[in-house]
Structure formats: structure tokens, C-alpha cells
């Protein structure tokens, strides 16, 4: 067991490191350069960086060279990501598009469409978002109600999506809609790509319980799309969506927010560091966080051997989200009466624990609730049976919904 690169990996890492050293200077710290995330200036810098990466085969390392990709391996992609992280470059605008949407386009669109979209997306010229979740669906992604009705060579779309990351700055999106409510739910859906700038598309930010607005609602009112914008066959939308969602899994996400070092710092400030109860908890948090980090190394080992990581990576968010909630609450309580103060100017460590306390409930839900992720582990890792289903063999319109 070791953490060493293979000779090929070490060479790739060295090359990447050198290239980053020479090129990443003005992108090195995305917050220190004084541009707010989501501001036009920040976005412009990000696009510039993406274009530069694309030029040098670092934008989409695993994509075939014929499409402008790097023609590399998943582990090379991980290595570049690590090195990029080390020099402090961390733009998030393109992750969903290049990680989930465009691969779906590449798998299901015609040659013309692919030629039109792959390059600009890779170079950061166009940003994509993913439009699957709906208010009434929640954990049940296949309960899509947004309706598409054929009208000549076009489809007319009405309905609403929710929790759409990046909708406010996206140029295109992939959209899952119901085209036939008379067949069982998984069989009556179809996938399209759409133009987010169409006036029939309205993006509204969601005011979250945490106070912020990272996500959006997206409304469609008589949006007309051409049949040629269809991805896959009519009625095959769920199959297409599964390909998109499978690609999601490969995104190796790190956790953000306060960690064990942050809470040790707080404990030192509030004199809690000597308390046995705190030390006991700290040990548990460290062991779980370390377990998570090291499990990612195991995943990378599998990637390095050319294997595909499976649904077992679901454990990451279960651990991270619950630990974030527990630890941030512990930190807030450690501040005692003072813990209610939420202003970064007043609260210790720039209110890191208050902020993550408010964000944690969202993290336990976004991208699969604790409950859904445990189902995934139970069913897809351990092989236990699925829940008894009452919605599989009836027409979608007859599935009980309570409304």
C-alpha cells in the first residue's frame, strides 16, 4: 500500500504541475483576486481559464481527442484536478455541463448537434445546466410532470423544474419531460436539449432556508423546441437520464465548511479543548473524515487500475452532511450564549459554524437525501430488494399523488 503515482502517473502529474505553474498565475486564488463568484468579471476569468485548458487538452481529459478532449484516463483527470486544487484554481461553472450534460449530448445527439455544442462547452464559451428535479417529484426523479406535446415538427413544453444549479448563467440545458402520461412512469418520458435564453424559459432564484440563493426554479410556458433537439427516442427519457446520472457519480467531491482543525481552533478560543467530551467527539469526527478521505484514495486506486467506481461512493455524502450538521451545532453550542451571533464580524472564525449549521440541512437533501442514499447502498451495493413499488406498472396519470 502506498500513495505513490505509477511512473506514468508521476510523469503526467509533473507535466500538469509545470503547465499550471506557467499558466495559472492570475487564476491562482479565485477569491483573493477580488471578484465575487457569479459576477461577470469572475465568470469572464473562468471562461478564459477554461479556454486555455481546452487548448492544452486539460479541459476534458478523458474525452476522445477527436472531440477536442485530452484522450486521457480517469486517473489523469483526478491528478490534474488535484494539482489544479493545489494551486488554488477552483471555478465551478462548467462541472455540471461537462460532467453530465454534454456527455449525454455526445451519447444521444446527431453528428451535427454534437459538432455544434461539444467544442464551445469544452472551451467554456457556453454553459449547460441539468433540468431533472421537480417540486412534486423530490427523491422520485422519474415522477417528472413537465409536459411536452407534439405539434408538427415541434414540441410544446409546459411545467416547472426546481433546484437547478447554475440556471441563472446557463446558455443551454438538458430537460426531462413527460411525453406520454398513459404509460407507466419510467416509459413515458423523453429528453431534450433546450436554449435557456428562450423567452419561454423563466429562471427564478430560490430563497433558501439558509438565507442564500444558490439554486433556482425554472418555469416553461409554451416553450417550443424542435424535434431535432430530442436526445434519444421518444419514451426513452429515463434511460437517457440514467446515463446522465451515472456520470454524476464520477465527480469526486470534496467537502467544504469547517473541519476538525477549525473546531480545534474554536475549542482553543473557548477553553473547550481540555474537556473530555469534546476530545471524545473530536476523535470520532477525525476518524470519520479521515475514513472518507482515505476511501476516496481507494476509489482513485480503482480508477488508476482502470476500474469504474460504483454506487459505494454514496457513503461520502451521508457521512459528510451529517457530520457537518453535528459538528457545526457542537461548535455553536460551544460558544454558549454567544453562539446565536451569526455576523462574521462578531462570531468566532467568521461565523464558520453558524453558516454551516444553516447550510447543513440542505446538504442532507441535495443530490439525494440520506434516506435515498441508504437505499442505494442497501440495494445496489448490498443487493437487498427494492421497496415494494405501487407505481411501476400503472399509467403515470393513475399513480397516486394525493392531489
Amino acid at each position: 500500500m502506498d500513495f505513490n503515482d505509477s511512473p506514468e502517473e508521476a510523469a503526467y502529474r509533473e507535466k500538469a504541475r509545470k503547465w499550471l505553474e506557467e499558466n495559472a498565475a492570475e487564476h491562482k486564488s479565485t477569491s483573493a483576486n477580488g471578484r465575487r463568484p457569479n459576477s461577470p468579471e469572475h465568470m469572464a476569468l473562468a471562461k478564459q481559464w477554461q479556454a486555455k485548458k481546452a487548448e492544452n487538452g486539460y479541459a476534458c481529459i478523458t474525452w476522445p481527442k477527436e472531440w477536442g478532449g485530452g484522450g486521457g484516463t480517469p486517473i489523469q483527470s483526478v491528478i490534474f484536478g488535484q494539482e489544479e486544487g493545489k494551486v488554488g484554481v477552483n471555478y465551478g461553472y462548467f462541472t455540471i455541463g461537462l460532467g453530465m450534460c454534454v456527455p449525454t449530448v455526445m451519447a444521444f445527439a446527431d453528428a451535427e448537434t454534437k459538432t455544434r455544442f461539444v467544442g464551445p462547452a469544452m472551451r467554456g464559451e457556453e454553459i449547460w445546466c441539468q433540468l431533472f428535479s421537480e417540486p412534486a417529484g423530490g427523491s422520485d426523479v422519474a415522477a417528472s410532470r413537465t409536459r411536452a406535446v407534439k405539434d408538427g415538427d415541434e414540441w410544446v413544453i409546459n411545467g416547472q423544474k426546481v433546484w437547478t444549479t447554475g440556471a441563472q448563467y446557463s446558455d443551454y440545458g438538458i430537460l426531462l419531460v413527460r411525453t406520454d402520461p398513459d404509460v407507466p412512469k419510467h416509459k413515458g418520458m423523453t429528453m431534450f436539449w433546450i436554449d435557456m435564453h428562450d423567452p419561454a424559459v423563466e429562471v427564478r432564484p430560490i430563497h433558501q432556508a439558509s438565507g442564500g440563493s444558490e439554486f433556482n426554479e425554472v418555469y416553461f410556458t409554451d416553450l417550443r423546441v424542435k424535434d431535432s433537439q430530442r436526445l434519444g427516442n421518444v419514451g426513452d427519457g429515463w434511460k437517457v437520464a440514467l446515463v446522465t446520472l451515472m456520470n454524476e457519480r464520477l465527480a469526486v467531491g470534496g467537502s467544504s465548511g469547517p473541519d476538525y482543525k477549525t473546531i480545534m481552533e474554536l475549542a482553543r478560543q473557548t477553553d473547550g479543548i481540555k474537556d473530555g467530551a469534546f476530545r471524545d467527539k473530536l476523535a470520532d469526527w477525525y476518524v470519520a473524515a479521515e475514513g472518507l478521505k482515505l476511501t476516496r484514495f481507494r476509489t482513485m486506486t480503482a480508477l488508476s487500475k482502470g476500474q469504474t467506481p460504483g454506487p459505494e461512493s454514496s457513503i461520502g455524502k451521508i457521512i459528510a452532511a451529517n457530520q457537518m450538521q453535528e459538528m457545526s451545532n457542537y461548535g455553536v453550542e460551544m460558544e454558549d450564549q454567544y453562539g446565536v451571533l451569526v455576523d462574521p464580524a462578531e462570531a468566532p472564525l467568521q461565523a464558520a459554524f453558524q453558516q454551516s449549521l444553516l447550510w447543513a440541512p440542505g446538504l442532507r437533501i441535495a443530490g439525494g437525501t440520506d434516506e435515498i442514499l441508504k437505499n442505494i447502498i442497501a440495494e445496489r451495493v448490498l443487493g437487498l430488494p427494492g421497496d415494494v413499488r405501487v407505481d411501476k406498472d400503472v399509467a403515470f396519470k393513475d399513480v397516486p399523488t394525493g392531489r
Binding site: 422520485d140 415522477a143 433558501q208 450564549q337 454567544y338 451569526v342 440541512p361 437533501i365 434516506e371 394525493g402
Partner: protein, 371 residues
């Protein structure tokens, strides 16, 4: 054996619920939540005063209703349930209790009728920075009848008329009454995890004070006041946690996923059962606290600590798992779940966090076992 509200108390509680459902729906709570310039619901405060609730446990001779503390507990449960955005706890659980406990006749005659009538708002100031307060090392000092120093945060400090301030006099902790409308006091409203309950920073520069209780007894009195407040706060916690379970249950019965209501999945059913168990443990401990408070029993310190620990734990669990049960909807500003999540934190911190209370409880158990 009558370990429950009496029929009269139940009637009072039912009336309080109806009153608050009409006067403090979450739409009204949100007015305070959304407007940084509004610190509390003035109309509700006035209405509550008219109900006589502020003086429920204040003797009739001092303008109160002279009911027992169990009646006040019943009201507290409903206030907690309704998220009432008013300085009730600060004024009644802390200041009125402190004056009844340690004030002299003049202070009682002057303050209690005004509190009962809703004419003054009070606050109780102990914290000076991050971490638990300790009566032994206070930066606020009194000398020659003048108070100097900073208290932060002080719940309702921005809207209160009077404060009881824990400060050091001659190296020993004392409790002091301060008129906050005096020019020697500067107030700054601060942002809170729970914007429906205001907090402030109070700066005193030679503020004139009057001692409450004997010199050097400030910390002892504060501990006794906090015991009493802990029981009453526990009822607010029980009320809030109970409401969270109701909300989660109702949502679980109407929300469908995969063609079934989500309340038919064991993951949700057992989560709600866990909530129920914690809520019952909290309620039973709160009742015992009410008994000890009402009879001024020797068991009060242990009973108050147990009530507070159980109440804090139950409300935390119920409020966070209520959001989880609601899924994405629960994480939106428009759905009420986060109001309870925020209030659960405010209530858990306002009289000191669980750490302090667990230590108080275990010290009591050690003493009991030694006896």
C-alpha cells in the same frame, strides 16, 4: 398521583393555543423575521399583556394573577409552539423571577406591577464573549454605583427598558438593575441565528445601578434564576418540538413519492417514532421541573437541568428531522421548517448551552449520591 396539567390548567392552555393561533400565526412571525428593523411583535406583546400572562406567576399584591408556576408553564408551552416573537422569556422567566427571588420590597413594588401590565420590557445580561459565563471572571465591573463594561449578546437588549446585569463589584459577582434608557448605555442590535428573537450588544459607561440581592451573591442568584428559567424554557422547547412532529407527520401523510405517501416508508416512520420518543422524554422531564419549580423543591436544580437537557435535545432533533422529512421543500425560506430550526438553537443557547447544564446536572447527582 396527578402528574399532568389539571383540568383548569388544560383549559388555560387550550385558550392560550387558540389565542396564539389567531394572533401569532407564522405569517405574523415572518414579519419580524423578514424586517431587520422590527425586533418584536408589539401588537402581540400588548395583547399578551392584556391576557394577564405576563403576571401569571406574579402575586396579586404586585399586580399579577397570582396563579402558580404550572400555569406559566402551560402558557410557555403554547408560546414555544407558536414561535411568538416577543420578549416574554427575558421579561418574565428571567427578570420577574429574579426580582421575586432576590429583589427588595421597593424593587418588587416598582417593577413587578409594570412587568405584569406590559409597561416595561426586561432583559438579563450575563454573557461577555464566546464560551460559558463564569461568575468568577467578569469584565463588567461596578464601582461607586456605576457600571462599566460590555455585555454581548443580550437577548432583547435592544428593546428592553431595564436590565439585570451580572457584574463584578470589589472582585465579587453582584447583580445590578440598570435603566437602559439612560444616556450612559449604548445599544447595538446584532444579527442572530433566529431573527425572530432580537439580540444586542450593550455598552455601559458609568451607568448608574442599583444592587439586587446581597453583595457578592450575584452568581448564586443567577444560578437560581437560570434554574427557574430553564424549566420555563423547557416548556417552550416541548411546545416547539411537538409542533415539528405534527408538521412532519402531516407532510408525511400528504407527500407522495414512488406512488405512496412518504409516511408509509419505515425510514420516515421510524424517524418520526424517534422524534416522538424524545418529545415524550422531554415532556416528562419538563413536568417534573414544573413540579419542582411550583413547590420550590430541593430537587429543582437537578430537575431544571434535566428538563433543559431533554428539551434542547428533543427540539434540536425534531426541528432538523422535520426539515429532512420535508425534503427540498423544507429547505426553502417559504416553508416554515427553518423557523423552528432557528428557534431551537436560540432556546438551547439563551440560558447557556447543554454543556453547562450537563455539568450542573452531574454535580447535583454527585452531591445526591454523596448524601
Amino acid at each position: 398521583m396527578n402528574f399532568d396539567y389539571s383540568d383548569d390548567q388544560k383549559f388555560l392552555k387550550d385558550e392560550a393555543r387558540k389565542f396564539l393561533e389567531a394572533r401569532s400565526p407564522t405569517s405574523a412571525v415572518r414579519v419580524v423575521l423578514n424586517d431587520a428593523d422590527i425586533s418584536y411583535d408589539k401588537a402581540l406583546w400588548k395583547a399578551v399583556a392584556e391576557q394577564g400572562w405576563l403576571g401569571a406567576a406574579i402575586p396579586e399584591e404586585h399586580g399579577g394573577l397570582g396563579l402558580g408556576h404550572v400555569e406559566l408553564c402551560a402558557i410557555a408551552e403554547e408560546l414555544g409552539r407558536s414561535l411568538a416573537p416577543i420578549p416574554f422569556a427575558s421579561t418574565v422567566y428571567f427578570v420577574a423571577e429574579a426580582i421575586m427571588l432576590a429583589g427588595n420590597d421597593e424593587q418588587k413594588s416598582y417593577l413587578l406591577p409594570k412587568i405584569a401590565a406590559g409597561e416595561i420590557i426586561g432583559c438579563y445580561a450575563t454573557s461577555e464573549g464566546p464560551g460559558a459565563v463564569d461568575g468568577g471572571s467578569l469584565n463588567c465591573t461596578v464601582s461607586g454605583g456605576k457600571l462599566n463594561g460590555v455585555k454581548i449578546p443580550v437577548t432583547d437588549g435592544d428593546i428592553a427598558d431595564v436590565a439585570l446585569v451580572l457584574a463584578s463589584e470589589g472582585g465579587r459577582p453582584g447583580l445590578f438593575l440598570v435603566d437602559l434608557n439612560d444616556a450612559s448605555v449604548t445599544r447595538e442590535t446584532l444579527k442572530s441565528l433566529d431573527p425572530t428573537r432580537s439580540v444586542a450588544k450593550l455598552t455601559f459607561k458609568d451607568a448608574p445601578v442599583k444592587a439586587v440581592g446581597a453583595a457578592g451573591e450575584g452568581w448564586t442568584i443567577t444560578e437560581q434564576v437560570f434554574d427557574r428559567a430553564a424549566v420555563l424554557l423547557a416548556f417552550e422547547q416541548v411546545g416547539g418540538a411537538g409542533k415539528c412532529l405534527e408538521m412532519a407527520k402531516e407532510y408525511a401523510l400528504e407527500r407522495y413519492a414512488f406512488g405512496r405517501v412518504i409516511g408509509s416508508y419505515q425510514a420516515i416512520k421510524h424517524k418520526l417514532a424517534d422524534m416522538y420518543v424524545k418529545n415524550e422524554v422531554a415532556r416528562s422531564n419538563a413536568y417534573y421541573g414544573a413540579w419542582a419549580l411550583n413547590t420550590n423543591a430541593a430537587e429543582l436544580p437537578a430537575a431544571a437541568a434535566a428538563a433543559r437537557i431533554a428539551g434542547s435535545e428533543a427540539y434540536w432533533f425534531a426541528s432538523k428531522e422535520n426539515i429532512q422529512t420535508h425534503g427540498g421543500m423544507g429547505f426553502t425560506w417559504e416553508v416554515d421548517c427553518h423557523l423552528y430550526y432557528r428557534r431551537s438553537r436560540q432556546l438551547a443557547l439563551v440560558a447557556g448551552g447543554p454543556k453547562v447544564w450537563k455539568e450542573r446536572l452531574v454535580s447535583q447527582l454527585e452531591r445526591r449520591n454523596a448524601a
